[in-house]
């Protein structure tokens, strides 16, 4: 058995827990109504097409890719807002680290405004903040990046809906079946319990799984606070007793 989630020749994925993941149709999040498939999904055991995944090397990363405070800023400038470090580990459902996982993250600025031409919120852009970054997990599945804490913002859904402060994450594992996009929320944000998008989650446990606690141990004194956010990807079966030639 391998200690990590690194692929082996015979590592099918355990099924995704559809009772835990959000449903496609969640009417309180209005956009889902016409964008949700109605037919049942077709289930089958994972094959090489789902058990393999593109490999991203650390060499593709620029020095500031995981520093959103500076990666869009003019020389000598930095983004405005509460300085934070976000760190954690990418694990699989068996608790094994997922090394080499590409993480991409994006977020609004400290005023709750995205740098996007379709964004209409009146809060101002920060000329020194682009709002995206990326990194790749180390051998122990760990990652970290530096950014500013994003602000909450209003969005057109109900008449007065606001998103809690959040950071979007896109995650690659070692198999395309693990591909995941999710959002990280911040401990103590009163908007979490009010948000229709958070509301698609089916339990308080699921909300907690996306809520990052303040982590004073990783806080840098007189510089940045830290939040810890672990990410769990689907688990891969690993056993000597799996003979795929004889059946599934």
């Amino acid at each position: 058995m391998s200690l990590t989630n690194k692929p082996t020749a015979n590592g099918g994925f355990v099924p995704r827990d559809r009772a835990w993941q959000p449903d496609a149709l969640t009417p309180q999040y209005k956009t889902s109504v016409k964008r949700s498939p109605h037919a049942a999904l077709l289930s089958f055991p994972s094959t090489l097409s789902e058990e393999t995944s593109p490999v991203f090397g650390h060499s593709m990363l620029g020095a500031l890719d995981n520093d959103l405070i500076h990666n869009f800023a003019a020389d000598g400038q930095s983004a405005i807002g509460p300085r934070i470090i976000v760190h954690g580990r990418v694990l699989d459902e068996m608790g094994r680290p997922v090394p080499g996982a590409l993480l991409e993250f994006w977020q609004a600025n400290a005023g709750g405004r995205y740098r996007h031409k379709k964004e209409s919120y009146l809060a101002p852009l920060d000329p020194n903040f682009g709002g995206c970054g990326r990194t790749i997990t180390g051998d122990d599945g760990s990652y970290e990046f530096r950014t500013i804490q994003p602000g909450p913002y209003p969005w057109p859904n109900g008449m007065n809906d606001w998103r809690p402060a959040h950071i979007h994450f896109s995650v690659f594992g070692n198999g395309f079946a693990q591909r995941l996009i999710t959002q990280m929320y911040f401990e103590g944000d009163p908007h979490i319990r009010l948000c229709p998008i958070v509301g698609v989650l089916k339990s308080q446990d699921a909300i907690d799984a996306l809520t990052a606690p303040l982590d004073m141990h990783r806080t840098v004194p007189m510089d940045s606070r830290a939040f810890k956010f672990d990410i769990v990807l689907r688990g891969r079966r690993q056993t000597y007793f799996e003979n795929r030639k004889e059946g599934m």
């Binding site: 593109p54 490999v55 996007h116 031409k117 070692n174 996009i181 959002q183």
Partner: protein, 204 residues
């Protein structure tokens, strides 16, 4: 009481939201900090096999094209080999990445992939599956990324013997999984999230 099985639970998914392009294709949105977007080109040099272009559009249940989606594809090379760490059957074409990502056209939402016709990949029992490409769709309003496959309508014999296509109960829905050949080396693959032509999506 029995012992506790202490597996972790997969992180719950949340929608990619309206600004997924900021995070995944920032250059496309005018944020040029990486020197280009990942997945824009699937070829790093001359590739083996037949080069093809796949175009398509993602439609919602009203027939409206999505302009804020992101589509990713993952496939083997022309010989059926993946450029992946756990490809044990051989070495894939070094000039082919196997992975493409498209934010769609800014005005129409149409996505385009310049790729190669994939080779066959074995089913767990050793049978060779029909040539196919794995596709993954995320967008505002999609709570959990949608997996599907792109098969090819000019592979009727391979499709008729494919272990997945033959197990589909509603055979009249199979055309939703077929890229339609529109010209030499050109295919059309539209994705319908909902409605009478709803694409077959996979629980994989």
């Amino acid at each position: 009481m029995v012992q506790k099985i202490d597996y972790l639970r997969e992180s719950p998914s949340q929608t990619a939201g309206p600004y997924v392009h900021i995070g995944c294709t920032p250059n496309f949105t005018g944020i040029d900090i990486y020197g280009g977007d990942l997945g824009t080109s699937m070829k790093t040099g001359p590739v083996q096999g037949q080069e093809i272009t796949i175009k398509g559009t993602v439609f919602d249940g009203t027939g409206t094209p999505l302009k804020d989606a992101m589509i990713e594809i993952w496939q083997p090379d022309a010989a059926g080999l993946f450029p992946s760490e756990n490809e044990t059957r051989g070495t894939a074409d070094p000039n082919f990445t196997g992975w493409g990502r498209s934010p769609g056209d800014m005005n129409t939402g149409e996505f385009t992939f310049e790729t190669v016709k994939p080779g066959g990949v074995p089913w767990p029992d050793g049978r060779i599956q029909a040539p196919h490409i794995t596709a993954w769709i995320v967008a505002r309003g999609i709570n959990l990324g949608l997996h599907t496959r792109i098969y090819f309508d000019d592979e009727p014999d391979a499709n008729a013997a494919d272990p997945i296509l033959t197990r589909i109960e509603h055979q009249n829905r199979i055309p939703t999984l077929l890229a339609k050949k529109t010209d030499q080396g050109a295919y059309q693959f539209d994705i319908h999230l909902q409605g009478p032509n709803e694409t077959i999506f996979f629980d994989i």
